[in-house]
């Protein structure tokens, strides 16, 4: 080992390796690149509106999402000749669709963010352990992620839901397990690349302990691609949760989850198409907004992956 370290030191004296993400990139620089991507800015604006809807749902929504107006079942929306009382109409049980969509934003974003948070944490823990310890630990973690990776995501999620039962909370658990491998793999790969660099050797040489080495020296340098992955993970998680909700294996009624709303609406596909159209539109708009924002994040944070 000493010979190898010596050689590395010699090479660095000639040409210091640029540390692209030694510190978190400063916000002004990030914003100036992000702003160039018009799609990303548009996505961010739409996403902000959805987030505001989610946060202030109880102030914006005209009614409660579960209140049933028995005298106005399947009332048409305004543009189809309905009254302003129910702008987007009502569903099969007379619940105001606009209110349910607004509260639904809360649920979908909650699912997306929880899945992202949980799988990021697991990804950091397992990915860093695999990179640091290597050997048996690495093989065990890599095999585990490989097998989860090999299974079709929805099939695995269905198997998990079949075991632990359908609910909003269990949806989050199932999707976290399904999406965890991509985070573990990404963290492991970038941590391994970082571990071979000189600044890590330097940190080791001055006696930094393993925990501090991994968490405060290596981790910050692995974060840029990780954040991009996390942003895209939120949109996949929302889609997956809506799919489970649609199959009746996700959030249970009367939760105003967008996918579950579509499942309820299937029987009205002929008579009242807006009940089917609107929740899906909410999903598409939100997911597109997140994906566009994610593209912008990638351009700004990860120059290597910058789209040509």
């Amino acid at each position: 080992m000493p010979g190898k370290d010596g050689a590395d030191l010699a090479s660095t004296t000639a040409l210091p390796e640029p540390l692209v993400f030694a510190q978190p990139p400063d916000f002004a620089a990030f914003w100036s690149i992000f702003r160039e991507n018009r799609g990303a800015v548009f996505g961010l604006i739409v996403l902000s509106l959805v987030v505001l809807c989610a946060i202030f749902a109880s102030f914006i929504a005209p009614y409660s999402p579960v209140e049933q107006f028995r005298d106005a079942i399947r009332a048409p929306p305004v543009w189809a000749g309905g009254a302003w009382k129910f702008v987007f109409g009502t569903d099969g049980l007379g619940r105001d669709i606009l209110s349910r969509l607004i509260y639904g934003a809360r649920i979908s974003l909650f699912i997306g963010l929880s899945v992202m948070g949980l799988s990021s944490l697991i990804g950091v823990a397992l990915g860093l352990s695999a990179a640091y310890f290597g050997g048996g630990v690495d093989i065990a973690i890599s095999r585990l992620t490989d097998v989860i990776w090999a299974l079709p995501s929805l099939v695995l999620a269905i198997l998990i839901i079949a075991i632990i039962g359908p609910s909003l909370f269990n949806t989050i658990i199932a999707i976290t397990i399904v999406y965890m491998p991509s985070f573990v793999r990404l963290m492991r790969a970038s941590a391994m690349a970082e571990l071979s660099k000189d600044y890590v050797t330097a940190a080791r040489a001055v006696g930094v302990g393993p925990l501090r080495l991994m968490l405060s020296t290596v981790l910050p340098n692995c974060l840029a691609p990780y954040i991009v992955q996390a942003a895209i993970g939120v949109s996949s998680a929302i889609l997956e949760a809506a799919g489970l909700g649609f199959l009746g294996l996700g959030a249970q009624p009367p939760t105003p989850e967008w996918g579950a709303m579509l499942a309820d609406a299937r029987e009205f596909i002929r008579s009242d198409p807006w009940i089917v159209t609107l929740p899906g539109l909410a999903i598409v708009v939100t997911v597109i907004a997140i994906n566009l924002t994610g593209d912008g994040l990638r351009d700004a944070l990860d120059p290597k992956m910058r789209r040509s």
């Binding site: 095999r143 995501s153 929805l154 099939v155 269905i158 075991i163 949109s235 579509l262 596909i269 999903i283």
Partner: protein, 337 residues
Amino acid sequence: MFRYILRRIVLTVPTFVALMFITFVAIRLVPGDPVEVRVGEHGISPERLAMFRRQLGLDQPVWKQFLDYVWRLLHGDFGTSLSTSNPVLREFLTLFPATLELSFAAMLIAVIIGVPAGAIAAVKRGSAYDHILMAASVTGFSMPIFWWGLLLIMLFSERWGLTPVSGRIDLIKYYFEPVTGFMLIDAALSDQKGALLDALHHLALPAFVLGTLPLAVIARMTRSSMLEVLNEDYIRAARAKGLSPFRVVGLHALRNAMIPVVTVIGLSVGALLSGAVLTETIFSWPGVGKWLIESIFRRDYPALQGGVMLISSVVILVSLAVDILYSVINPRIRHAR
């Protein structure tokens, strides 16, 4: 190259073992005693209970039960469905051609539209067409497939009456014994007039719905891969030689740009089967995806276990095949390690 392929094959063995382990554990985590699930009544005598336990091998130590499970899988015994009492493998094999047919058609649509669309976008980079295609592509992979299906049913079937709502063929008009399980082939073999056309008519909309996601991914992937290739020296050389632009783009560039695209196609088999679960549910398409969902609601856990095992095996084997194919096409990868 032979060593690389061998290595890759050996590496799938632990994946299969892990898969068997996961399905084995999963079925034991299901709430409720497996004997009670099967017998389905309370107040059963302890002797009979013990007999059932012995029959199911539940009196054995867990590691032995696992080895037993692996042994049975290796002999093609994927359990017996609780709801039909048929072997799970047989049920799977009768339904799988329907899923395969749907997935093939979806991939075909995705490739036939996606590759040229992406290639043209790369050539006309920055044009209005390029922008529109990329916007459509983002929309495509942000689309919840079940909603997309419902929307198209609403327009094409309900409003315009162009396509049938569900099923694989009009069962009132056409009847013939399944030979291969692939409706298109069976219909063609049946020599009933119009059967093939009717089967195609039923296949079109579900296949397009399922193909939307891979179409979006392939168009985008072809575009970025083309952009990279178009900057290479050999393309400039081909242009300098005076070859027609069509030959340069269509022959030299596209062929090289296809290498990453082929990988993406192979990798999206898992995503395709996930999408098939939803597509089959919407269109009442009698494939393995719909069957899997119905197994859950019938609490048919052996069918669920066997189904997950079989579907996952298919995905693992396909990605193995894609990796091997890739190493044959692209010599760089097999020398990498």
